[in-house]
Amino acid sequence: MKKLINRPEAMVDELIDGYLAAYGDYVGRLEGRRVVVRSTPKAEGKVGLAIGNGSGHEPIAVGWVGEGMLDANALGEVFTAPPPDLILDALRAADRGAGVVLLISQHAGDVMNGEIAVELARAEGLNVEPLLMYDDIASAPKGSEHERRGAPGTTFIYKIVGALAEEGASLGELTRLGKRVRDNTRTLAAAVAPGISPLTGEPMFSLPADEVFLGMGVHGEPGFRRLKVGPVDGIVTAMMDGLLEDLPFTEGDEVLAFVNGAGGTTLMELFIVYRAVAAVLEAQGIRAHRPLVGEYVTTQEMAGFSISLCRADDEMKRLWDAPVAVPFFHR
């Protein structure tokens, strides 16, 4: 299928330019670099939040740079983690004298480029702490949580840690909270139809017309279990079973619940999915606090969705609800 672009090599620069043309009130760009920063930097003395990630997943992460969330985002090529020097630029830009948390969604490239960037930054005297984010239960078994990959549930960390950073918390407090959110978050995704790679112009995987694929990754990495398409309530129930028993989430828990659209699935369907999620939670005696339904972490026009749950304490709920001023996440 055709993509509405000019040249593949120019995609990332042009998406940044277009984003800035539209939302320049919120964000600016480091001159000549693929790094998006707040138009008004955070106050001196507050800890910065930065991330490097491959493009093609918009609105994450570029849409979350602004007050209450991120300070700087280094954008790699489509689906490709940015190189260390670009992440270093983002770290420098995010530093307001109190250090920077580098958020790293656990994928081989993000981790390696991020770790090298942290080394380089520390060699310059920057106080940087990496925070590995992982939540996808399809990618490693229970007991090996630290081997799992980052999935849309990382959204909870961006928002909650972002809000605490705005309040002036220390680097240690932020990474501790970030780990607490991570360790209480679980995500599972389902793919319905592939997105088109803007690099190859071809579908990113193939899937029979009557199958749903559980466990797909955010780059279109195929999943682990195929279900026949049927009423979506059944698909959601199967997914919720896996999610609930993994943490486990139990009666009396309060959770942040997030249904993310992968790109090609309509909001109509996402609402119908959330209806089923809410029904399962209610039946289990689990309370949902301020749910989120929409497209936040996309894989081009892949059809599918993910369900993320985060068991939340009062501090996490307060920060999840806290104000934010970025173009693509709202309070």
Binding site: P8, G54, G76, E77, V78, F79, T80, A81, P82, P83, P84, D85, L86, H107, A108, G109, M112, N113, E115, I116, A138, S139, R149, S197, L199, T200, E202, M204, G215, G217, H219, G220, E221, P222, G223, F224
Partner: protein
């Protein structure tokens, strides 16, 4: 190895990876996200440019290191740090040496060690290490000169690729795929084989001419 030969090496690698772009992309699409070909092509284009533009009178070590740095900032993803490390270590090992053969052997050994530390993978995990580790070992085990060591490495890398096809992935994106990619060669391993193939062919030709 002369600076000139090193510069030619990166020119030829740029050509080879430009030609292999689609094939590597498809291999990666089968088990990962399809960006390996375009990334390697972009990286070696940048490396060749940087190598050719080094001012003054550089030696081979400088050329290889500057190319390694270019790879590091041009590729990104998983393969950027890994392939950059390979050349950075080989380049460092070439510093001030007369005989390139033992220097390259030492550089490859360091590279293998650093790459394993960085990626936390081991041979058998279905990554570029499955081509690189046997290539490095074959290189070191070869008693002869650089030419024969490169020939041995090229051979071993190619065998490593074939063996990798039968492995289930334990690292990289392919580990998440149904069947963990069994039946598909690892794209990073294929790139390692292409790299030794290109280098060996260039060096043999250079030797014949001289």
């Amino acid at each position: 190895m002369t600076a000139n030969e090193a510069q030619t090496l990166f020119e030829q690698l740029a050509t080879a990876f430009a030609e292999a772009e689609e094939r590597l992309g498809s291999l990666d699409a089968a088990v990962g996200d399809g960006d390996h070909g375009v990334g390697m092509a972009r990286g070696f284009a940048a490396a060749a440019l940087a190598a050719s533009q080094l001012p003054g009178d550089p030696d081979a070590s400088e050329v290889v290191q500057v190319a390694g740095r270019a790879l590091m900032s041009a590729i990104g993803g998983a393969s950027g740090p890994l392939f950059a490390t390979l050349f950075l270590e080989v380049g460092k090992a070439l510093e001030g040496v007369d005989d390139p053969k033992p220097a390259v052997a030492a550089g490859l050994a360091n590279a293998v060690e650093r790459i394993q530390r960085l990626g936390k993978a081991a041979p058998g995990d279905k990554t570029m290490l499955d081509a690189l580790v046997p290539a490095a070992e074959a290189f070191t085990a070869t008693a002869g000169d650089l030419t024969s060591a490169l020939l041995a490495a090229r051979e071993a890398a190619q065998q490593g690729v074939e063996a990798s096809a039968e492995l289930p992935a334990k690292r990289g994106r392919a580990r998440y795929v149904e069947g963990a990619g069994v039946g598909h060669p690892d794209p990073g391993a294929v790139s390692i084989a292409l790299l030794f193939d290109t280098w060996s062919a260039l060096h043999s030709a250079t030797e014949r001419e001289s």
